[in-house]
Structures are given as structure tokens and as C-alpha cells.
Symmetry: C5
Subunit: 306 residues, 5 copies
């Protein structure tokens, strides 16, 4: 099994250590595991994601869920952070997402533009910042430069840096697709190389015929794992990318909404296979509030169990 | 009905609160509602908009109208602000529009470039700044970065930020068009996410066959609302986007000149459905001065009535 | 007739007022009218413009003409300003042109790049700066940003800003051409909006069949004015664009060399119709020196006569 | 034979001299020769390079190898430097690689974007920085500007600058390819011109039919050297490019893994022909740890022997 | 004959005057004429230019030639300046070339990127900086902006600015080619306009059939001069462009190696026709050292003779 990084073993500045301690031990499961509630979908997808559960269109809904459910942190862009967090100070840490985009134009040359700063995060009392890196995009040069400056500011202010490391763009699609093991594995390593403290990954998917277009020897890996039962293959994939993330803690996302059974099984595998935490959005707030609290509890139990 | 944000309930800095208080309670209707007079059409469309009422080509005309009509604020670019406001100090607040473009070249990659600064606004005694965001444009990366810096300066100086949130660009046209509910709804949310204090929206339109190209489930919404009578559908659309704007106050524009009856009916619906105010330009100054004052009074009555 | 702005009625800072006073009342006609001698053609067109009168290729020629002819100012780029002005200090004010380009490559995406600064102008004792704005160019976003910074520096240092407001680029050509009333009218308004103190315009031309491609209602205007005698139409066009320039003083250019009769008739119409001044280059220095002085005198008489 | 630059003969600032002394005489072979262990492949190629020896996917593996093997320095990007070096302080100098890219998108317009700074290197106690220059890329203008700023910072802080000088991009491929003598020779000279202290080169390759597309007189050189035995041709090529690097010390890379016999023969020729050192990555860590130590020793013997 | 600018008659700052005095009167011919030795070909063309005389590949060769031959200055990029000048301090002034490019990719949109600064030049004790401007390139906007900043720094530090004014790019080739009189004449004027103290030009060439594509009236000029004998036409061309350079001193280049007879004849014509100096590279160092010294002496005699 891939080694899960421990806060005490990492060589972090005092500021980063203090803030990550809050996320890992003073909120959420409190056991060194993370459960984050992201609410950046309104920017990335528009209000479309709130149709299944209209009350979730009010960001206060997610604040309440994060607070009552006891999450390790809530992820907001600057506008929502400034307008909705006041009443939840002390109950749930803020993670300020610094860059974003809409999904309206083509993402062939995907690039997520910074619209707030690490200084904003400091000013708002945030405990981490988030940054989306589009791994393999033709616009990677601008992305590296932009991330480099954010990383530098994080080092200056002792602010933990969470990188949403997303394979994206036309070249990625030509080499197996954004969810291929090849792509996610690269994304995991890249976050470690570029100075992330925590990396958010999507769990690789199997069965996409384009996987065969990934560079060798990934093809071999697909063929081997296809023989395994689904959960085992899933576990192998998680272990592989957690290992590639090295001393960067790994969060896995839930993606679009799936059945509770699937969600919990996947959560368990991720945590057992080395993930430090989960970042579940639509799976938590695209349902009635009480149901959201219930599934939150079930996920937290999994986080506490390994 | 969508909840209308109240100044006292918003978590604003002292500077923003002071300036927004001026706009909401010390000028215009004075009841917490806004009526703004924009005169940026000379930049955005050229002098062509002044043909129906030639005296309106002199910016002093709009100054007089805003002053005598008792508007909450007048919207100028830097050149007009510096040249025409001196005699109207104290009678109508200045809102400095920071970016603009002409409509001469294609807007397939629409981008509105900053040509004045928040510091200019401070120096000129303005009570807010305006910024046009082209939601969904292929140039959105530059737009986010540019808006991010304006937003940061607004936070630094306590200057309210009004975002003209306009769906625009080739990708928007391919997904239902700039006036589709999908597009305007996204624009409303995006302004809330990016830190606007007030957002200016166009009321969505019905009946464009391209609406069917909007991502599901918006299509369903179109089909349902098509069954309603026109005013009711209009109200539903306004409520939807006001809700998506969340704690960002919403202004609706009048667009090109329509009949008084239509204008007043639309104004009433907007305000009843949660808008904080109206920003009416051509409908006010593309007519003789006295007529402009008269219709201003009628609109203000509507603003005071709900 | 369009109202001509008067220095005393404009709301200018002390620095701008002082420097504009020099241009308007202490040099040139001295009556509040302007006569500028531009010598930026060596950059914009190359030495080709000096073939009709070879001595004019030496910038000292224009210095002498401006000095002996008693112009309100001479327009130079930084290199010529630094190398040729020393002997003419006190006799003719310097206007530093800040941006330029050659006419070698295509101007489909016309953009004039800044190569000196307002600080340079201050350092050299200039009384104004010049900036070329390409109205309607696909590169307008960069142009607005660049002009915005120049404008800001002008406000900081009290330096008058003269905008060469030129319709240009592929989109302009598709909507009636750079000399259409539509285009020049837009250019006049835009300079006023963007903070010019003075705007240099070309007088619109008639008879280009592309004029019909201008947006309505300009077509109607063309058709009406075509019925007028030529001078009257010319006057109408000048009045229209002077009105659109509002509180920005208007200079008209002479363009390429024409007959003296035409030049003087056009000058007279421009001034009578509201222009504050003229900026005549090739028409003045593409002829023997004494002839240049003579025509200068005749133009100044016109300037003094209305 | 090409003259190998000696530290004492170079005109270096005290800071650069001090740090280069550490690399050349206080670590590694210690005789003025360099043996560097690069581990930037995880960024440039992804985890794919670790498949032949999975433990090498943990950067601590390379740290141990560099430390126990006694390398002159280890090359890391910022993320790995911050997370893995703590336990190896004093045993192996850090070389911070400042720019990078993934190999996912096309490299027709290759550009390697800076994501950390010379100040980061100073802060982390590094003894040199690395920068990848893509010689001949259509993006060379951005590359020169970016490298110029890094070089300036290196001069400011006394930090040695190692340039990875790689011919790359569509134009290079059309003129003989990235491994042609023409291309590598140009790369060597360019690093000397642009201010590198040390340049990393790939040894030119023979036999690519595209070599004939190199500009004359390189074709003649290919034809002459083709007559020589392979080792002799190799030596001639190394001498040529070492000479072109002038007073810039040359490191040769190993490239992808080859047989030990080939590796050692090539290493010997490089050093005998004027190289100052070797930078071997995959050839060292794409094998079991003890084997890696053994081959390290053999390479160091070669470095000490000439 | 075109007037040759004299140092005493130019309006230069003390710093520029001091440094230009060193170049004009304290080194080289010492009579107010310049003879510069450029060695930037290793960057612009690669080591290919050293094949005819391999020792010239070592920059020390040019240092010795410049020192023993008594040149007015040697032109280096930053890397060579820092590495090779120490032993020649006091014997030959340094001219730091600030921008450059390789000739590998297409120069259809030619742009030469800055990789060192005027501050570097000050720090290294240089007496001038060099900058390559690509006149007429589609990238001229970036070039003007970049040159403008260099020019500003030169004014700040009193550092003479030598502009390599080269017509280049696809538009130039369509209008007569880079060596047409039209193009070189424009280049001469542009350097004067943009603030060069000294301009380096190539002597225009005749007989290229594309010359007819130059804008009128250059065609007439070609046809007239074609009737003259070769030397006379050459002299006319030189006088024309020297006149267009105005108060900017002109250097002519030698270009690729030609016969001694041709070289000396061309040198004599240039100087007699108003050039201030010559910048000969390949013609001086693409031959054995003693021959290089001899031809240097012969060229200097020409420089001293007029």
C-alpha cells in the first residue's frame, strides 16, 4: 500500500503546519483525515448543478451542511467566502479557491485564471488555498508560471496549497483521456513536483477504449487490471496514484452524483489505499439536508476507520 | 420569491457600506432601491444611440436628467466623469465605469479592457465602480484576471463593485444565445462567485429557437414556462436569476427603447420578483427631457411601491 | 453650430490648464485657437513623404518652420524631440508623440505601440503628449489598456492629452471605411469618453460607395447630405463630429497635400464649424520654406477670424 | 582537444565561485569534475520513467543514491526540494531546477515555464539553479526574456546557472533534428553567449538521414566523420561542441537507459574530450539500488581518471 | 553630401557624451570615426560562421583582434562580455548587445528578445548598448515597446544607444526586400525617430527585381541610379540613408565576407558619403589573425582619411 504522508513527518513551515493542523486535527474527522465540502460548481458549471436540489443554490446551504456535518473545510471562491462565511467562523475552516473558469467555451486549451490571491486568503482567515492546474493543456506554460507565483506566496505566508490536478486539453484526450490512469498518475506526480501540500485527484476510470492510446507501459497496466474484480482494480489505481503523489496528501473527489452504496464503497477503498481525505460536493449537497448530514456521517465513519 | 439582499444583512467593510448607503438611501428613491442612469453607450455603440434625441448626445443632458430626476447614480467612463460632473456634485453620485470597448470589431472573443482604475474612482469621489464581465467568452481567462485585480482594489479602498455580467462570445451563442435563461442564470451566479456587490443583468428572453441548445435541464424549464402567460414567465425568469445572484443585489437593464407600457410593466415585475433596482438608459434619455423626467417619476414610484 | 469648448469653462487641473494656456494663448494664433505642425510622418510613412521637398527630410526644417511661422506647437517623437529642439526652446512648444508604428505591415489589426512616456514629456518640458488610438481595431483591447495608463499619467502630471483618434482595421473597413461619417463620429465620441483633452480627427469624406455599409441611421445622413453643395455637406460633417467630441477640443488634419484653395476653404469651414484648431503637416512642409511661411500666415488669419 | 574551463581561470563573482567550489571540489568526485543526479523526469515525462524500477518513483530513492553514491549534486524541482532534502543536508548539494513542462502537448513551439525562482534557491540553500532553454524554438523570444531575468538574478545573488540547452521545435526538426551536430553545436554556443556557467548538452547522434538538412558546412562534417570509427566520431563531436561552449563548463547527459558498457565508454570519451562532468539520471536509478551505487562508482572512476 | 553629426553639436547628456567620447576619440581611429568589431554571430547564426577560420570560434580571438587592432569597441552579448573581457579592460571598450535571437525559426514575424539590461551594461563598465530593431516586422508593436524601455534606461544612465536597424519580416519582403533603398531608408529614419544615438545599417543593394515592388517614388530612384556606374550609385544610396538618419551617427556593416578590394572600396565610399564608422565582423575575423590585423589597419587608414 502507498504510504500516507503524516503531518509530523513533513518538512513544513510553522504557518503551514499550524493551518494544516487545524484542517487535519481540529475540524472534520479530527484524526488526520480530511473531508472537504467544495462549492465552486456554481462557477465551473453554473447554477445547473443545483437543479436536483434547489435549496443548494443558496451558498448558505453548504455553509450549514459543512458546519453541522463537521467538515474539515469548505471551499469557496472569493465572492462567496466574503458574503457567506461570517456566521460560520470557528465552525468550519475556509479554503479559498484562487482560480476558476466557466465551462462555456471549449477546454481544448484549458486554463483556469486566478481571480483572488493568497493575500486575500490571509486577510479572510483561510486555512488553505486551492488552485486548479490543467495537466497537459497546451496552455501549461501560463499555468506553471501562474501556479509558481501562488506557490511562492504560499511559502511566504505559510499558507497550505491544495492543487486540483486535472488532466485536460486536446493533447490529454489524444493520449487516453482525462480519466486514464496515465493521465491521473502524471497529475499526481506533477502536483508533488510543483510544490502542492495536498492534491485533489479524480479516481482513474477503466473501460474507456481510448485508454489504449496512453503511452506504454500504461497499456499493459490496463490489461492486467482489467482481469481483476472492479474493487480490486479500483484499489490498485488509487494506490498507484497515491504513490505518485509522494509526500503530497491526496484527496479524491466524488464527481457527479452516484448511488450511496457506490459512494461509500469508493470512499472506503480510497482511504484504505492511502488517501488522506475526500472532497465530496455534489454527492453531499444534491440531496435533502438531512440526507446530506446522514451520508456525511457515514463517510466520516469511513475516514475514522482507517 | 427570491430573497432581496438588505444592506444591513451583508457583511461589508465600512467603506463599501458607507458608499452603498449613499446610493441606496441618500439618493434616488431612497428606500433601499436603486435607479441608475448609464451613459456609456457612446463608447459601446457610438453616437448612433443619440439620433432619436439629438440633445442626448451632450453628456450634460444625462447629468441634468439624473440630477433633476433624482437618480441613485449616473454611470460614466473616465473622460465624461472628469469633464461633466463638476456642476452636479452633491446632486447625483458618480459610478465610474472602468472598462469598455466599441462594437465595431467582432465580439466572438469579447473582452472589455480596463481604461481607468479604482484609484481614479476614489480620486473623483465616486460611490461605486462598474466592470463588464463577458461570461462564457473564449477570452474569459484575461477577464477573470482583470476583474480579480479590480475586485482586489475595491476591497482595498472600500469601493462597491457593480458587475455588468453579460453572456457573450461564440460559445454562448452556440449554447442558447446571450439572452437565454441558461446564460443569464450563469451570469448571475458568476458575479456572486467573483465578488460583485451589485450585478447588472439583462432579463432573459423567451422564444428564441436556439434556447433548445442550452444544456439540460434548462430546456425543460423553457418548455414549462412557455405554457405560462408572458408576464408570469417573465416573473419566473427574474426570480430564477435573482436567486442565482444570491447576496449580490440585482439591477435589470432596459435594453433598447420599448413602449412605456412595456417598460413599466417589466420594471414592476423585476422589482416585485426581487431586483434591487433598475438601470435604464436609452429608455430614459432617448426622448424629450420632460418626458424623460415623467417616465423617471413613474419608474421611481414602482421602485418605492415594493 | 457645435459648441467649441473654452479653456476657462473646462474642469482641468492646474498643470493641464497651465500647459494648455501656453498652447492656446501664449503661442501660435494666441487667440485660443491651435495650429500644430506634426512631424511624425517619418515614422508613420518613412522618408517617402519628403521626396516632394527634400529639405523637409531634415527635422530642423520643421523646427524652423514652426518657430518662424509661429505655430502653437510642434509634434515630435522622442528621438527628434531630444535631438532637434534645443535651439527652439521658448519659440515653439513641444508636443511629444508617445506611440507610433510603421506602415509596412498590414494594419488589419492596427495598434500603435508606446515608445516613450509622459515622464519623458515632463523631463523634456513638453506642453502636451500625443497618442494614436485606432478606433474599431480588433486590437482595441490592448489599445484601451495602453491609453488608460497614458491617461492616468497625464492626470498625475497635469499633462494635456491629445488623442489622434483614427478609425482603422478590418472591421472599420467593412462598416463604411475609415473616413465615413459613422467612423469619424464614433472616433470623436470615443476620445471624449476616454479622457482626451484634445482630439485630432480627419474630416469625414463623402462619395465612398462603402458608406452605405455604415450602420443605420448613418446611411440616411449620407443620402441627405449628398443633396447639399459640397461645402455645406463638409460643414455639416464637421459640426456633427465636433458635437460628438463634446468638451474635447477638436483639431482637424489636412491629410495629404491638396491645393491651397481647397486647404484654406476646408480650414475656414472647420474653424467656423467649431474646431479649435488645425494640425497641418504635409500641406505646410511639402513646399519651399517661404511658401510654407506664407500659407501658414493665411491659415493663421483664418484661425484668428472666427 | 577542446580546452576544459578551470574554476580558477574563470572571472566569477565570489558567490558563484563559492558555490561552484562546493560542487566541484567539496562533493562528488572532488577533483573539479561533476557528477549530477537529475530527478526532474517525473515532471518532464511523468511517472512512466519509474516503471523499470518502481522504488525509484519515491524521490527519497534518488536522495539516498545521490548521498550514498557521493554525487556532486542532485537536481530537483521546488516541490521535491522542499519535501525530500531535509535529511540529506550536508551530504549532497541541491540544484534547483527553475522551469519545466510536461511532454503531453506538442513541442512544436516548445517553451519551459519558470515555476520557481533564484530567490527560492537561495532560501533553500541550493548551490546552483537549472534552466531549460529550447534552442531554435519558435517561442525563443519568450525563452530569451525569461532566461535573461533568471540570469540577472543569478548575477545578483551569486548563484551558478546551469542551462539545459536543448534544440527543440518544428524549425529544428526541419534543419537536421534535435540531435544533429548542427543543432547541439548551436546550443552549446548559445549557452555561452547567454551567460550560462555550466551547460548540459546531449551528445550529438549520427546516422539520422535528416542530418543532411542541416545548413552547410555541417553536411561536410557529417560525411567526413561517417568515415571514422564510431568512438572516434563520437569524440570529434564532443570536442566540437565543448569547444563551442567556450568558457562554459559542459555536462553531458546519458539520455534513456543503455548498456553499462556503452554508458561507460561514452562517459570516458566525453570526459577525455573536454567535458567537465556528467548528468546521468535514468541510467543510474532505473536499476536496483546496489547496482546504481556500483555503476556510480565506475563512472566516478572515469571522472577521476582524466 | 549628407551632413555627418559631430559629437560637440549633439545635445547629449553628460553621461552619453563621456561614453561616446571614449568610443570616438579615446579608442579606435581616435578621430571621431568608429570601427567596431561585432561578435554576436555565434548567437545569430551559430558556430557556422567560424568554419572558415576555426580559431575565431574562441571569443578571445576577437578580443585580441579588437585590442591589438585598436578598434573603437567590441560588441558582445552578456555571456561573452562577462567571461572574456577581463584581460582586455582598458584596451578596448565594451558594447553590450542587449537582445538577440537564433536564425533557426522563420523570421516572418522577426523579433529580437532582450536578454540583458542597460543596468548590466553599467555594471560591466560598457560604453554603449546595442539593440536590434526589426523595421517593418509584423511584431513591431512589441519591438517598439521593448526598445522604448531600453531607450528610457539609456537616458536614465547616460548610456549611448546603438540601434541595429534591420528591415525584416514578411511585409518588408513584399515591398522590395530587406536590402532595398526603400527599406534601409525607412530603417535609418526610424532609428532617428526612436532615439538611437548611433544606427547600424546595411548598405542598400541594387539589382534585386523585387525593388520594383517598393512604394513610389522609390522605383524612380532605382531606375535613375541604375544608369550610374556602380560606385556612384553606391555613394548615392549611402548619402540618401545617412541623410535620413539625421543626427544619428551611421555605421555600415560589412555583411558576409567579400574580397578585400571590394571591402575597402565600399568602406571608402561609406565614409566619404557621411558615415561615422564601420562595423565589420566576418570580414575581419574570418581570416588568419595577422591578415585580420592588416586589413584592420587598411580600414582604419580610410577612416582617418576623411
Amino acid at each position: 500500500m502507498a504510504k500516507r504522508p503524516k503531518l509530523d513527518e513533513l518538512d513544513l513551515s510553522l504557518g503551514k503546519r499550524t493551518r494544516m493542523h487545524r484542517l487535519l486535527y481540529e475540524h472534520g474527522p479530527g484524526s488526520g483525515r480530511l473531508l472537504l465540502l467544495p462549492i465552486d460548481q456554481g462557477m465551473e458549471h453554473g447554477p445547473i448543478d443545483f437543479f436536483p436540489n434547489p435549496p443548494s443554490g443558496d451558498p448558505d446551504y453548504q455553509c450549514r451542511l459543512a458546519s453541522e456535518g463537521g467538515y474539515s473545510g469548505i471551499v469557496f471562491h472569493i465572492g462567496l467566502a466574503q458574503k457567506y462565511m461570517r456566521d460560520y467562523v470557528g465552525t468550519v475552516p475556509l479554503i479559498l479557491k484562487l482560480n476558476g473558469k466557466t465551462n462555456v467555451p471549449s477546454d481544448a486549451e484549458a486554463f483556469s485564471a486566478v481571480e483572488s490571491t493568497v493575500e486575500d486568503a490571509v486577510r479572510l482567515g483561510a486555512d488553505a488555498v486551492g488552485y486548479t492546474l490543467y495537466v497537459g493543456s497546451p496552455a501549461q506554460d501560463r499555468d506553471f508560471i501562474q501556479l509558481g507565483k501562488v506557490r511562492e506566496d504560499c511559502d511566504r505566508y505559510g499558507m497550505p496549497l491544495i492543487v486540483w490536478s486535472y488532466p485536460r486539453g486536446s493533447a490529454v484526450e489524444a493520449k487516453g483521456g482525462r480519466n486514464s490512469i496515465y493521465a491521473v498518475d502524471y497529475a499526481a506526480r506533477l502536483a508533488n513536483e510543483l510544490g502542492a501540500d495536498i492534491v485533489k485527484l479524480n479516481v482513474p476510470k477503466f473501460g474507456d477504449p481510448r485508454n489504449e492510446d496512453s503511452p506504454a507501459p500504461y497499456g499493459k497496466l490496463y490489461r492486467e487490471w482489467k482481469e481483476l474484480d472492479e474493487d480490486e482494480a479500483y484499489r490498485m489505481a488509487v494506490e498507484k496514484v497515491v504513490a505518485s503523489a509522494g509526500r503530497t496528501m491526496v484527496l479524491f473527489s466524488g464527481g457527479s452524483k452516484i448511488s450511496d452504496e457506490d459512494l461509500l464503497r469508493k470512499a472506503r477503498i480510497c482511504i484504505e489505499a492511502g488517501a488522506t481525505g475526500l472532497i465530496f460536493g455534489r454527492n453531499m449537497w444534491q440531496r435533502p439536508f438531512e440526507e446530506g448530514l446522514r451520508i456525511t456521517e457515514e463517510v466520516k465513519e469511513i475516514l475514522l476507520s482507517s
